[in-house]
């Protein structure tokens, strides 16, 4: 039994430390991700996604990136990367910090070698001098008749691939944190409205916070040349009715409060009214084009509005309609200019105060974002080390023929780029010979 379970873990470890599996996983992930761009996804195009065949929907092809099996693939890749990295950790450590000079000629890298002859003492001195000048870190082994060295430049480059691989795991953890602990939602509100954060429309996660949001103003600002400058929302955070924070946000300039971030997403126009019912005044803010209605309390009268397209944008007029019950035709309609009041079916008086902006805000809480940026930093750092900071390892042994003369055999560990490591060796040898002369 013990035998068996051991060999199973061994086999699992073996499978997951294989780079073949890693490459296969990467290939499958790329392929599956590609399929997801050809089939409409619910997140981007809910209408078209619904039209996809039922079987495909059930199998998750219309929300491919959120499916269990896509995440499983990413999970396998993570395990693969962790196992692979652990297995290589020792080697990387030794190659960075525990380099030992060659003990005999056979230990000098074979493929790329050079030989220099000269007198022992000057040869040793010039080797050390040249290595120091070129910025190598040197380890010597001096045992009477055999003198050898190993020298390394840019040794931290060894850690590049390790850091890169780990960063991917960090990224996955960050994404996981976000999807477990975070939420994502959206609301649209007119200037003057207050709503609880709990009341927003959610697409992911749950809201545990309890504060409220008041939209002080919402504005669609234009530049003098007629292009859109940006949409601006002046908003306040209320805790128990008290304003605790306030900021004007716009697209690309979000506002964060206690880990909840508000993003300006879109904008619509609307109108601000006051409904006066027996002296009790209620502010009513309605979006343009009948997106939303006002039902006066105790009545079955519904008010919708639209901005009069023929009026000037500075002092716009509104068209309004009153519907009764589920009736399809309005029972009253008309046009109001700013400040005008109209009587609605004898039930209440409606005053048009002027235009009001409607702001659409994305709301998001994602405690994983910091981890994501950490992962991005590690990823980039690791890649820079891998490709812009490649280590060079020179090692050589000096064998004396008599007490005065000797032969130095130097080799360079052929890294990923053989031509340029050879160049490093040639440069080294030519500097040494120059110094000997």
């Amino acid at each position: 039994m013990v035998e068996d379970s051991k060999s199973l873990t061994d086999r699992l470890w073996g499978a997951f430390s294989s780079m073949k599996l890693g490459l296969a996983l990467l290939g499958i992930i790329a392929f599956v991700a590609g399929i997801g761009t050809l089939i409409p996804q619910t997140e981007q195009d809910p209408e078209k996604a619904k039209a996809v065949g039922q079987l495909w929907q059930t199998m998750g092809f219309t929300h491919l990136y959120n499916t269990f099996w896509f995440r499983l693939l990413l999970g396998f890749l993570c395990i693969n990367l962790i196992v692979c990295s652990l297995q290589r950790l020792g080697g990387i450590y030794r190659r960075t910090f525990k380099l030992t000079p060659p003990s005999n000629l056979a230990r000098v890298p074979q493929k790329t070698r050079k030989v220099v002859q000269g007198e022992l003492v000057p040869l040793r001195e010039s080797v050390q001098e040249v290595l120091k000048q070129k910025g190598y870190r040197l380890t010597l082994n001096d045992q009477g008749n055999s003198w050898s060295f190993i020298a390394v430049k840019r040794r931290l480059g060894n850690w590049g691939s390790f850091i890169t691989h780990l960063s991917f795991v960090v990224l996955v953890i960050g994404a996981l944190l976000g999807s477990i602990l975070g939420f994502k939602g959206y609301f649209m509100a007119g200037a003057g409205n207050t709503l609880s954060i709990q009341a927003i429309q959610l697409s992911k996660g749950q809201v545990t916070d309890t504060f409220s949001v008041r939209i002080n103003s919402a504005e669609d600002r234009m530049l003098p040349n007629g292009e859109r400058d940006n949409w601006y929302t002046d908003m306040s955070i209320l805790e128990n009715g008290q304003e605790v924070a306030r900021k004007t946000l716009s697209v690309n300039h979000p506002f964060a409060y206690k880990g909840v971030t508000f993003y300006q997403a879109n904008f619509a126009n609307g109108a601000s009214f006051t409904a006066d019912m027996n002296g009790q005044k209620t502010p009513v803010i309605l979006q343009d084009q009948g997106q939303g209605y006002y039902q006066a309390p105790g009545t079955d009268l519904y008010l919708v509005t639209a901005i009069d397209p023929s009026s000037s944008s500075q002092k716009a007029d509104v068209l309004f309609q009153i519907y009764k019950g589920s009736g399809a035709d309005p029972i009253q309609s008309g046009k109001l200019s700013s400040g005008q009041t109209v009587d609605v079916q004898g039930k209440y008086k409606l005053t048009f105060n002027g235009l009001a902006g409607f702001t659409g805000l994305q709301v998001k809480k994602d405690p994983g974002v910091a981890v994501i940026w950490l992962g991005c930093g590690l990823l980039l750092g690791g890649l820079l080390l891998s490709f812009y900071w490649q280590p060079v390892v020179l090692s050589g042994i000096l064998q004396s023929e008599n007490e005065i003369k000797g032969t130095l055999t130097v080799g360079v560990l052929s890294g990923k780029a053989t031509v340029s490591t050879r160049e490093a060796l040639e440069q080294f040898v030519s500097s040494v010979t120059k110094m000997l002369r």
């Binding site: 780079m19 890693g22 490459l23 990467l26 290939g27 992930i29 790329a30 991700a33 590609g34 997801g36 761009t37 050809l38 996804q41 997140e43 981007q44 195009d45 990136y65 994404a175 994502k184 292009e227 859109r228 400058d229 940006n230 949409w231 716009s250 697209v251 690309n252 300039h253 979000p254 971030t261 993003y263 300006q264 997403a265 994305q362 709301v363 998001k364 994602d366 974002v369 994501i372 940026w373 991005c376 990823l379 980039l380 890649l383 820079l384 891998s386 490709f387 812009y388 990923k416 780029a417 053989t418 031509v419 340029s420």
Partner: protein, 283 residues
């Protein structure tokens, strides 16, 4: 005024690019040093003209060149030619020009044939595109994609030379491929170029994610352009690993460099022209 200067720069670019491509070919055939020099000078002119055109465009429009396909293609051309020029000087590799220059040439032809003047003028950008991160995003994309185009050219050269040598006729001294560097050098250069571009592509994706997080609160939304840039990224990661671990050097690596660039092109054209998404801004 500035606009018409920009237009003239565009046509200078088109002429210089076309001529230098032809001259690189002539040079490959004739080996006349004069022709080669002329080709290189014209490439320099093309780089300058496209740089000036892009800078003028940025001045007149007040944003990085990403409001439409014209601006992006122009930047793409500049990236390819700039990285190529660097490679030519650094590695004394003029024959590469014959294989890289057709790419910007075809891109420019695409602009001329498929985009009317009204599609080329600077457009207003939506508020979401007003972000410094996008400037980095465009610059990194420019150099990464440019370098991938150069590795594509190297891959083609490798495959051509290999097939000539395989057919037995040891590249005759007269043969065009005899002007190419040794296979091993071509292979390693392609690796180096991909190694230069891969971190840049990564940075491009990261700056895109940072921007998206500022603008929408989502650093990654799997929109088709993002997904395809990830696929491209994975293909090149595969290239690097296969090479490193299985010793997939030479022929297979060369094919992967060619294949990877096809993914780059699809990320740009395929996604902008066939698939919808956030980046449809870039049309």
């Amino acid at each position: 005024m500035l606009e018409s200067l920009e237009t003239s720069m565009f046509y200078i670019l088109v002429m210089a690019c076309t001529l230098c491509m032809v001259l690189y070919w002539v040079w490959l055939g004739t080996k006349k040093e004069f022709v080669g020099r002329l080709a290189t000078s014209l490439t320099i002119i093309a780089v300058i003209a496209s740089t000036v055109a892009i800078i003028l465009r940025m001045i007149t429009s007040g944003h990085p060149p990403l409001s439409n396909g014209y601006e992006f293609l122009l930047t793409f051309c500049l990236g390819i030619m700039a990285v190529y020029l660097y490679a030519e000087f650094r590695y004394k590799l003029r024959s590469l020009g014959a294989f890289v220059m057709p790419i910007p040439f075809l891109l420019l032809m695409f602009i001329i044939m498929s985009m009317g003047p009204e599609e080329r003028i600077a457009q207003a950008v939506p508020p979401a595109l007003k972000s410094q991160w996008l400037t980095f995003h465009v610059i990194t994309a420019m150099f990464a994609y440019g370098a991938f185009a150069v590795s594509f050219g190297l891959g083609i050269m490798y495959l051509l030379k290999l097939s000539k040598e395989d057919t037995g006729k040891k590249a005759s001294p007269q043969g065009i491929v005899s002007r190419f560097p040794a296979l091993e050098i071509l292979d390693e250069l392609a690796y180096k170029v991909v190694g230069f571009a891969f971190p840049l592509l990564t940075l491009c994706i990261i700056t895109g994610a940072i921007w998206a997080n500022y603008a929408w609160g989502t650093y990654w939304s799997w929109d088709p352009k993002e997904t395809w840039s990830l696929i491209t990224w994975i293909i090149y990661a595969g290239y690097l690993h296969a090479r490193l671990m299985y010793g997939w050097k030479g022929k297979r690596a060369a094919w992967m460099a060619v294949f990877g660039f096809a993914a780059v092109l699809f990320t740009f054209f395929g996604v902008n022209y066939f698939l919808p998404g956030l980046h449809s801004y870039a049309q």
